[in-house]
C-alpha cells in the first residue's frame, strides 16, 4: 500500500509536468493590446508620428526581447519541479518509516499487555 501512495505522488507530479510542458505558449508574452496602450501612453494624442509604423517597430523589438523566454522559463520551472519532487519523495519515505515504527511499537505494547498477569 505505501508503494501505491509513492506512485500516486509521482504520477500527480508527472501529470502536472506533462500538462505544463505540452501547453503551447505564445512567443511574445506581452499581449498586443498592452503594446498599443503603452504606445498611446507614451505618445499621447500627438499626431506627428505614424502610429502604425511605431507599432510595427515596437512589436518587433518586443518579439526580439521575448524570443525564447517561454522556452527558458519552461526549463527553469521543470528544474525546480524536480528539486521539490525529489525532496517531497524523500520526506514521504521518512513518513512511511515513522508509520512503520509506530505500528511496531503498538504491536509490542499489545503483546506486553497480553503477557502481563491480570
Amino acid at each position: 500500500m505505501p508503494k501505491v501512495d509513492f506512485i500516486i505522488i509521482f504520477l500527480v507530479f508527472a501529470t502536472f509536468l506533462a500538462i505544463f510542458q505540452l501547453t503551447p505558449s505564445p512567443d511574445t508574452l506581452i499581449p498586443e493590446e498592452r503594446i498599443e496602450t503603452a504606445i498611446s501612453d507614451v505618445l499621447g494624442n500627438e499626431i506627428k508620428y505614424d502610429r502604425a509604423e511605431i507599432y510595427g517597430i515596437v512589436v518587433k523589438v518586443v518579439e526580439l526581447l521575448n524570443e525564447g523566454q517561454s522556452r527558458r522559463i519552461k526549463y527553469l520551472i521543470t528544474a525546480y519541479f524536480f528539486v521539490w519532487l525529489i525532496l517531497i519523495l524523500y520526506l514521504f519515505r521518512l513518513k512511511q518509516q515513522y508509520t512503520r515504527l509506530h505500528k511496531q511499537i503498538q504491536r509490542l505494547e499489545t503483546s506486553s499487555d497480553q503477557i502481563q498477569p491480570k
Partner: protein
C-alpha cells in the same frame, strides 16, 4: 529547539526563493534559465558536505566501533545521494537549455555520475553484507568513496580542455546580488540536510532500541 530548527529552515528557504527570483540579477546570456544555478550548485555542495560527514563518521566508527557513528554515516550518505540526484536531474535540464544537449560526457558530468553510482554501491554493499560485517565494510567504503568528491570539484581544472562547465573560480566573479542569493540558497539546503539527518538518525536510534527490546524478549 525541536521545532525551532525546522521553522528556521522553512523561513530561510522562502527567503532564498525570494532572493533567487525577486532580487538576484539576470545573467546576461542565459537570462531566466541561469536561476537553476542557485539550487543546482547548492545541492552539489550540500551533497559534498553529506559525503564528508559520512567519511568522518566512518572513521569514527572504525576507531571507536560506535553504533551512532555508523548510523549517521549511512544516513548522511543517503541524504548525499538525494542531493546528488537533484544535481543530476537539474543539470541536464540546464544543459539542454544552454548547450542544447541533455548530456555530455565531459569531466564534471561524468565524475558526478560516477560519484552517484559509487554511493549507490555503498547501499548495495550495506544491504548485501551480513549484519556483523556490513558496518565495517560500509565504513571502509564510505572513506574510500569520499576520494571521488575532490575529483568532482577539481574536474574542471584537471581536464580544462574538454570541460564545458565554467571553472569553479568564476563564482567569485558573481554579481553581489547573485552571490548573496546563492549563499542563502546553499545555507537553506544545508539546513534542510541537517534537519533531515537529525530526523533520520532519531528514527534509526528508536528502531535500533526497538529491535534490541524485541530480541531480548
Amino acid at each position: 529547539m525541536k521545532t525551532l530548527l525546522p521553522l528556521a529552515t522553512v523561513i530561510i528557504l522562502f527567503l532564498s526563493l525570494y532572493l533567487v527570483f525577486g532580487y538576484a540579477d539576470y545573467e546576461k546570456t542565459m537570462l531566466e534559465v541561469q536561476k537553476i544555478f542557485y539550487f543546482h550548485v547548492s545541492s552539489a555542495f550540500t551533497s559534498f558536505l553529506a559525503f564528508a560527514v559520512t567519511c568522518v563518521c566512518s572513521i569514527i566508527y572504525l576507531v571507536k566501533r560506535n553504533f551512532k557513528a555508523d548510523l549517521i554515516a549511512a544516513n548522511s550518505a543517503e541524504l548525499g545521494l538525494v542531493f546528488a540526484t537533484i544535481v543530476l536531474t537539474t543539470g541536464p535540464i540546464w544543459a539542454k537549455s544552454s548547450w542544447n544537449t541533455w548530456w555530455n560526457w565531459e569531466p564534471r558530468l561524468t565524475s558526478t555520475l560516477i560519484l552517484w553510482l559509487t554511493y549507490a554501491g555503498y547501499f548495495i554493499l550495506r544491504n548485501s553484507a551480513s549484519s556483523a560485517q556490513k558496518k565495517r565494510f560500509s565504513a571502509v567504503f564510505g572513506i574510500v568513496a569520499f576520494l571521488n568528491v575532490p575529483i568532482v570539484y577539481y574536474s574542471v581544472k584537471l581536464w580544462q580542455s574538454s570541460s564545458l562547465h565554467p571553472p569553479t573560480t568564476t563564482r567569485s566573479n558573481l554579481a553581489e546580488s547573485m552571490r548573496s542569493a546563492w549563499l542563502i540558497s546553499w545555507f537553506a539546503l544545508t539546513l534542510i540536510y541537517i534537519v533531515l539527518l537529525k530526523m533520520r538518525t532519531d528514527l534509526g536510534i528508536i528502531l535500533h532500541r526497538l529491535n534490541n527490546m524485541q530480541a531480548d524478549r
